[in-house]
């Protein structure tokens, strides 16, 4: 990937850039969404000139993640300005702000390194609002002389914002739309891919097609259906939402198992149903709880409470289901049930 665009050797402090997103950029974004070479979707930190900026042109600050930088420059089509790219190690603005790399120190350092004071006549920087979790505006002003103006959360709102430099309340609220959730699914899939293949093939060999399909469905429910259905699943906690979704996904499989063996003893059939629900819903619930980090609204203290309350329950449910599976399989082999 040629994503680390370098203009070293040109002798310029200001790297020229445009608002055009090329096919290669789109392809890079696609790979980033699939988690391919996750940390390598970077642009070189430094100062970029968009269009034909003058000393009076505004300065926008962003992260050195291609999706962040490209989103900003494409939203500014038709504008002249400067883009100050901080070194966030290829991480987007909000996550980098959370870990402090999109932060006060790096911003002050980057202002000095690029000689921004000699390039622009004003002393204002426009930062994305979500960068505020890592940047202390009054601290930056004290240390660098630059005032921070927090722009809107979404780059799409920037042209409107620049008319008045006032953000509407909607521009200041983070959202998590269906589209926002859909773009996260590829990377969620890559996280569970090894588990998906191992359990799918392994369980097919051990327990047959129905068992394999059931577990694969429970995993896919956790990483595909869950992000899609998140706002519509009842209960506030992610774990309980996951139990409900996993239980619902289990129904067709346990019914097939129940109705498919009319000659079996009732307690054996009931046992398989219970086992299926225990295992499948705990698998989906665990994956659902893990989606908290991808959302823009779960607090750390809330997630911690969820972990303490539900991880033990998931473990007990999964363990009980697994033990039942072993016992019932042995009964089937020895007793012909």
């Amino acid at each position: 990937m040629s994503e680390y665009k370098t203009t070293a050797g040109t002798g310029d402090r200001i790297h020229p850039t445009t608002s055009t997103i090329t096919f290669a950029d789109h392809w890079g974004h696609f790979l980033a969404r699939w988690g391919y070479r996750r940390g390598e979707h970077r642009v070189e930190p430094g100062l970029y000139g968009l269009g034909n900026p003058s000393p009076d042109s505004p300065v926008f600050v962003t992260a050195n993640y291609t999706l962040s930088f490209d989103g900003l420059r494409s939203a500014l089509a038709g504008f002249d300005g400067y883009i100050l790219v901080l070194d966030t190690e290829g991480i987007n603005v909000w996550c980098a702000a959370g870990k402090g790399t999109f932060g006060t120190d790096e911003l002050v350092h980057r202002i000095e390194l690029t000689g921004l004071k000699e390039i622009v006549s004003h002393r204002t920087l426009i930062l994305p609002q979500l960068g505020a979790a890592g940047v202390s505006a009054h601290e930056v002003e004290k240390r660098s002389g630059f005032c921070i103006e927090y722009g809107p959360i979404r780059v799409a709102d920037l042209p409107k914002y620049l008319e008045t430099h006032e953000a509407t309340p909607e521009m200041r609220r983070v959202t998590f739309t269906l589209r926002d959730r859909l773009v996260l699914i590829p990377v969620e899939l890559t996280h569970v891919f090894p588990a998906l293949v191992i359990s799918g093939v392994g369980l097919f060999l051990l327990g047959g097609l129905l068992v394999s399909l059931a577990v694969v469905s429970a995993i896919l429910a956790g990483v595909v259906l869950f992000p899609i259905l998140l706002p519509w699943l009842p209960t506030p906690n992610f774990s309980t939402k996951g139990f409900i979704l996993g239980g619902a996904v289990a129904i067709p499989f346990v019914l097939t198992a129940f109705l498919g063996h009319p000659q079996g003893a009732w307690w054996v059939k009931a046992g398989w149903v219970l086992m299926g629900i225990l295992v499948l819903s705990s698998v989906t619930a665990f994956l659902a709880l893990n989606f908290t980090g991808s959302t823009p609204f779960t607090s750390r203290s809330g997630v911690r409470r969820e972990i303490f309350a539900y991880i033990p329950l998931m473990a007990v449910m999964f363990g009980t289901g697994l033990c039942m599976a072993v016992v019932f399989s042995l009964l089937r082999v020895w007793g012909g049930r």
Binding site: L130, A137, R172
Partner: protein, 96 residues
């Protein structure tokens, strides 16, 4: 537990507020609103503990135990015995 997210670590001291309005600018969940004399804490339960308000409050009137609400990172930290979880550049990172 009915709702793990009902309470959080956000604490606001209106006595210390200088009414600069920055908290209502930086908060992505509308927790604060501008008031006549001091900032108003209008929906504390919506706080996700990102820490932006505390970091940007020049009067230090806001306290919050900020951190990332990511179960993957917290579980991994608990299993490996490492300290507070943050998103990294490794392939299993929770952030996109």
């Amino acid at each position: 537990m009915l709702n793990a997210y009902r309470s959080n670590t956000l604490q606001y001291d209106p006595e210390g507020c200088i009414n600069c309005g920055i908290c209502s600018v930086v908060c992505p969940h509308g927790v604060f609103a501008t008031g006549d004399g001091v900032a108003q804490l209008v929906s504390p339960q919506a706080c996700m503990e990102c820490g932006a308000c505390q970091l940007n409050c020049p009067a230090e009137a806001i306290q919050v135990e900020s951190g990332v609400g990511c179960a993957t990172a917290m579980i991994r930290a608990a299993l490996t015995g490492k300290k507070e979880p943050v998103c990294g550049t490794d392939s299993s990172s929770c952030c996109s």
